[in-house]
């Protein structure tokens, strides 16, 4: 599946189609698409099974920069997650502990979870960090931009992959 900028709508089961959150999201797609010309160009990627095997940038990320990003408030990760960050007093508990992520998931699996976790679980609360379509009422400051850049995603993937237990 290529070209994330115009993600085709996948077939939904009956239960999905009647899910009450779907309608506003679909309406959002129609409203958002015309504005996409001005949007940041996302790099294309291929999803194979539950992973994006290839680096978005074609290069390996930097785990040290990745760690700094994960604990930074602006990346939003530790609003929900906790993990091996003893220096961080405030961590969330809405989501799994990130410790040992690299033992549970391959780099490619981690990459897809960051790029678009909703492909794996349509009801997830985890935001899609590298996606601009299918969103509703995005604030002007953030409109047309993914939450993280391809470089930032690769840095975080490198860091998470290094978390072994």
């Amino acid at each position: 599946m290529r070209n994330p900028g115009s993600r085709p709508l996948r077939r939904k089961s009956l239960a999905r189609r009647t899910y009450r959150m779907l309608d506003p999201i679909l309406a959002g797609v129609l409203l958002v698409l015309p504005g996409c010309a001005a949007a940041t160009e996302l790099r294309s990627y291929a999803v194979i099974d539950d992973a994006i095997p290839q680096s978005l940038t074609g290069m390996a990320g930097d785990a040290t920069r990745g760690r700094a990003l994960v604990v930074e408030r602006s990346s939003t990760c530790i609003l929900c997650h906790n993990g091996p960050f003893p220096e961080q007093k405030f961590q969330g508990d809405l989501a799994p502990d990130l410790s040992g992520s690299g033992s549970r998931w391959s780099e490619g699996q981690l990459r897809l979870r960051l790029v678009d976790a909703s492909r794996l679980n349509a009801e997830t609360i985890m935001p899609s960090y590298y996606r601009v379509d299918g969103l509703t009422r995005v604030g002007t400051l953030w409109r047309g931009k993914p939450i993280l850049s391809a470089e930032q995603i690769e840095d975080i993937v490198a860091y998470l992959a290094s978390l072994r237990e």
Binding site: Y19, M21, P24, L135, T136
Partner: protein
């Protein structure tokens, strides 16, 4: 009650996916999530900073204003009697506009129509003070908002907004306040989002603030476009939240972290 029953039934029909509404018996005010010292601050009038606005509001209540040269008290008398339970019914249906209006908007409509004075800006010291003073007269009263059948379509709109995912983080109010209210978002306890204490003093703001200010903060938090103060959508959200909290006790002026 019948209204809530209808929503619950509708949810069952729509399907088992996604959020369930919080059962009546499990509803909790934001107060119950606070540390003991913050609770004490709310409970003790001499320590509650919101009382400064209430006292200020009492002065304004009795002060003549506008071309009509009338004070609120000239029409409404003693607020302790005339305003008792009023805030617990807002937002309420406004015949003139055919829409719900919140307490701030009601106060401003009295200013323009009866005092012939200019409306007070949202979040201005005077409007917050008058709102706090009026709301204080309902402290302890059960919330009754939404009983008027004319409000039903607006409650439904507010509910849709509450359920809808939005913003760059693609979250709906329900994702936090129905599904994750027993958890923590970084350092902050996620409450059930019941608007029992407004206007309230927020330590982070170092000020009293309205429910609309709180809603705009959550909307910006999910990186969505915040509605302007007074926008119909914000009033519909207020209306839905208040009717969702029906039966819970009013706390204004509350204190929150």
């Amino acid at each position: 009650m019948r209204f809530l029953g209808a929503i619950a039934a509708a949810l069952l029909v729509v399907g088992a996916v996604g959020a369930a509404e919080i059962p009546q018996a499990d509803r909790r005010s934001g107060y119950s999530f606070m540390k003991p010292d913050t609770k004490t601050m709310q409970d003790d009038d001499t320590a509650n900073p919101g009382m400064l606005w209430v006292l200020n509001g009492e002065t304004l209540w009795n002060r003549k204003a506008g071309a009509a040269d009338k004070a609120c008290a000239d029409c409404h008398g003693n607020a302790r009697a005339s305003m008792k339970g009023v805030a617990a019914r807002y937002p309420a249906f406004d015949k003139a506009t055919g829409r719900p209006i919140d307490l701030e908007q009601r106060i401003n409509s009295c200013r323009t129509n009866h005092q012939q004075a200019t409306p007070l800006p949202f979040e201005s010291r005077e409007l917050l003070a008058l709102t706090a003073f009026v709301a204080r007269q309902s402290q302890g009263a059960p919330i009754e908002t939404g009983a008027d059948p004319q409000l039903a379509p607006f409650v439904a709109k507010g509910r849709d907004l509450y359920m809808q995912r939005q913003g760059q983080l693609n979250l709906g109010c329900t994702n936090c306040h129905d599904d994750n209210w027993d958890k923590r978002l970084a350092g902050a306890a996620i409450t059930q989002g019941h608007p029992t204490g407004y206007p309230l003093y927020r330590l982070e703001w170092q000020s009293l603030g309205s429910l609309q200010r709180r809603l705009r903060a959550c909307i910006t938090g999910i990186r969505a476009q915040a509605y302007d103060y007074g926008a119909p959508e914000l009033v519909e959200l207020e209306l839905y939240l208040m009717s969702r909290a029906r039966g819970m006790a009013m706390e204004a002026p509350g204190v929150r972290p």
